[in-house]
């Protein structure tokens, strides 16, 4: 487009509106319900190790989610969020990346972090806000983050990570730009994947992030998790377009929709998208379709807003089972061993939980550290006064009083 208005030049004399659903957007599906590759579909290029890692991660997350959901009901953690039904979408997309690709997630993507190697102990430390939590016990449970694993710490305000992903990815691209020509001079080493829900995609930050990525050609994979609900709000009260995918063309971004319950489809799409993004320096939009099988969070009760019938309809769609069947067909998995491992993992989880809940809370100084790189004078003074106050009333502040220096 080389006209000042930056539009396609295509004159018409007939008064005709473009239909509100002019795009016909298919959903890529590769894997059948019984683990078979569907007719006409091609399995992606995935090796056994990757496939097994992918599977183990999904299995682990399911078990972790089950256990922590229960722990919340027992009052052992204050809050939890499961990724029930979206394990394949998250894990398979993460598996299609390089380990140093940046992950900017919303909150329901613990599987991506697990795939990267976040340990069970690390998960537990965060969930129990103890002094070993990398986040120093400051944020609610599930707000994980790890610099080492290129997983940006979760931030509750929705959508904020979307333009941030664009900026981060632009930074990743910078060194590959030839200063003389302004063009890419090599394939980009690492990109950023940005996960968000179909609800968060209504935020203004979504618009800004995608448009800027297109204009500045930032290598971001925008991964929209359309799971049908934003807390109680169903997708048809969230948007009237054809999913989130229909927005790609408005930004001039290549787009694909995948069956989020199909690990192979997600893997294939993400792998292909990554290739385009790092080779051309461009964003890609991926919409994953899955159903949020669980509650929004432990604070939520879906029976207030959706029917048992609807839930039942999707209950059977287990993305982990579906992928497992394929692995079995491939001969890459032994069912008995798998069951045995599950028991072992359950035990490990409970053991880790019991340890983490006993680790003490962060020390008082962590209340004021990291606000700035160095405490500013006003805060340093407040801290000194607080220490004095606690020393005078140790009984009222049992968590920190004993450890004040």
């Amino acid at each position: 487009m080389t006209n000042p208005n930056n539009i396609s030049l295509n004159i018409s004399h007939a008064l005709k509106f473009i239909d509100s659903h002019a795009l016909d957007i298919p959903t890529l599906t590769i894997l059948g319900d019984n683990g078979e590759i569907l007719e006409g579909a091609t399995a992606p290029d995935i090796d056994k190790d990757t496939a097994i890692n992918l599977y183990s991660t999904m299995r682990f997350i399911r078990l972790l989610d089950e256990r922590m959901q229960a722990a919340q009901r027992q009052g052992r953690v204050s809050f939890y969020m499961q990724c029930l039904g979206e394990e394949a979408a998250i894990t398979a997309s993460a598996a299609a990346l390089k380990p140093e690709d940046m992950i900017m997630a919303q909150y329901r993507e613990q599987a991506a972090l697990a795939y990267r190697g976040f340990t069970l102990e690390q998960f537990m430390n965060q969930l129990f806000s103890n002094e070993k939590d990398l986040g120093k016990g400051r944020q609610m449970p599930v707000h994980y983050g790890s610099n080492e694993l290129y997983y940006l710490t979760i931030s509750s305000p929705l959508g904020t990570q979307i333009p941030q992903a664009t900026g981060y990815a632009y930074g990743q691209k910078l060194k590959h730009i030839d200063p003389a020509t302004g063009e890419l001079n090599s394939e980009i080493d690492n990109l950023t994947i940005c996960y968000f829900g179909e609800g968060a995609a209504s935020e203004g930050d979504f618009h800004a992030g995608l448009n800027m990525a297109a204009v500045h050609e930032a290598p971001v994979l925008f991964f929209a998790r359309n799971n049908g609900y934003a807390i109680s709000t169903p997708a048809d009260e969230q948007f009237k377009g054809d999913g989130i995918a229909s927005r790609g063309v408005g930004y001039g971004i290549k787009t694909i929709r995948v069956d989020g319950g199909d690990a192979l489809a997600v893997f294939a799409a993400t792998q292909a998208a990554r290739k385009m993004a790092v080779e051309n320096g461009e964003p890609v939009l991926i919409e994953s379709i899955a159903y949020r099988l669980g509650a929004h969070s432990t604070s939520d009760d879906p029976s207030g807003y959706r029917s048992k019938e609807e839930e039942a309809e999707f209950k059977g769609n287990c993305p982990i089972e579906r992928f497992k069947k394929w692995l079995l067909k491939q001969g890459w998995l032994n069912e008995q061993e798998d069951e045995a491992e599950k028991d072992k993992i359950r035990e490990d989880i409970l053991a880790a939980l019991k340890i983490a809940e006993k680790v003490q809370k962060p020390a008082l100084e962590e209340l004021v550290s990291d606000v700035y790189d160095q405490p500013i004078p006003a805060l340093a003074k407040q801290y000194e006064e607080l220490k004095e106050h606690i020393k005078q009333h140790p009984e009222a502040y049992p968590v920190t009083a004993g450890r004040i220096k």
Binding site: S156, D205, A230, T233, L367, H389
Partner: protein, 325 residues
Amino acid sequence: MAKMNMLHAINSALDITMAENNQACIFGEDVGHFGGVFRATSGLQEKYGKHRVFNTPLTEQGILGFANGLAAFGAPALAEIQFADYIFPAFDQIVNESAKFRYRSGNEFDVGNLTIRTPYGGGIAGGLYHSQSPEAYFAHTPGLKLVVPRNPHQAKGLLRACIKDDNPVIFFEPKRLYRASIGDVPEEDYTIEIGKAEVVKEGSDVTLLAWGAQMEIIEQAAEKAQEAGVSCEIIDLRSILPWDVDTIAKSVIKTGRLIISHEAPITNGFGAEIAATIQEACFLHLESPIMRVCGLDTPYPLALEKEYVPDALKVFAAIKKSVEF
């Protein structure tokens, strides 16, 4: 009279509003069929229809943009922001638009029909993003009114007054008290005047000033002080904008001492404005410096919330410091 918790009181105020004006609309994230994540709008969609009580897409700037437009049209626009921590994407629509709508147009247009409700404050293990008290961010904005109730009775009467008021108002609801605070509330309609502080308990030695959920804390501190022989006058500011300088000044002229307590970080919190104004208004009457017992200058923490908050012990320590000055 009925026993109600604060959520019921708010629901009742909304119900009266919806019944009295068939253009009134309630909207926000999850406020429809579900009744809001705290259930403040429970049952209202069933009663008044999906066209008047509805979920919005997840966009706070959109909710306030929509609300400004609907209010400008002339319909009572009752917008909910799910948590006060999430009001910032709407900051431009509130501070540059709602607040300036009437002034910039020479009164050709206004959004006096706008009321924003939002749960604020800590004490629910919410960490950085489910605990903030952002009233001071708005207090620097001519054109807005800001109101905070301390109990169910106040909540209903003040919310009705906010809705009837012909200016855009933000109504901050202390979410920690939603279910915890229960009291007698008339079932019928009534209003409590905006802009007036209330002397909740008279006293002679120190004036304690707070609003919303923090009222409980200063009341506890006053009891401790009582035991120690110090008589506190307790005032609920209720309205941050406009605020009742006269009532506070009158009290401080009597007691000679003022302690302000709020949950938000101390620096440039609304306590700063109160201290700045009162030191000028009561200069010759002050027997000790005005003190502020507030949140620390950090984001709101989780594990160390207890240490962070301006609790009754800290307020009591300030009382002692003030009388011993």
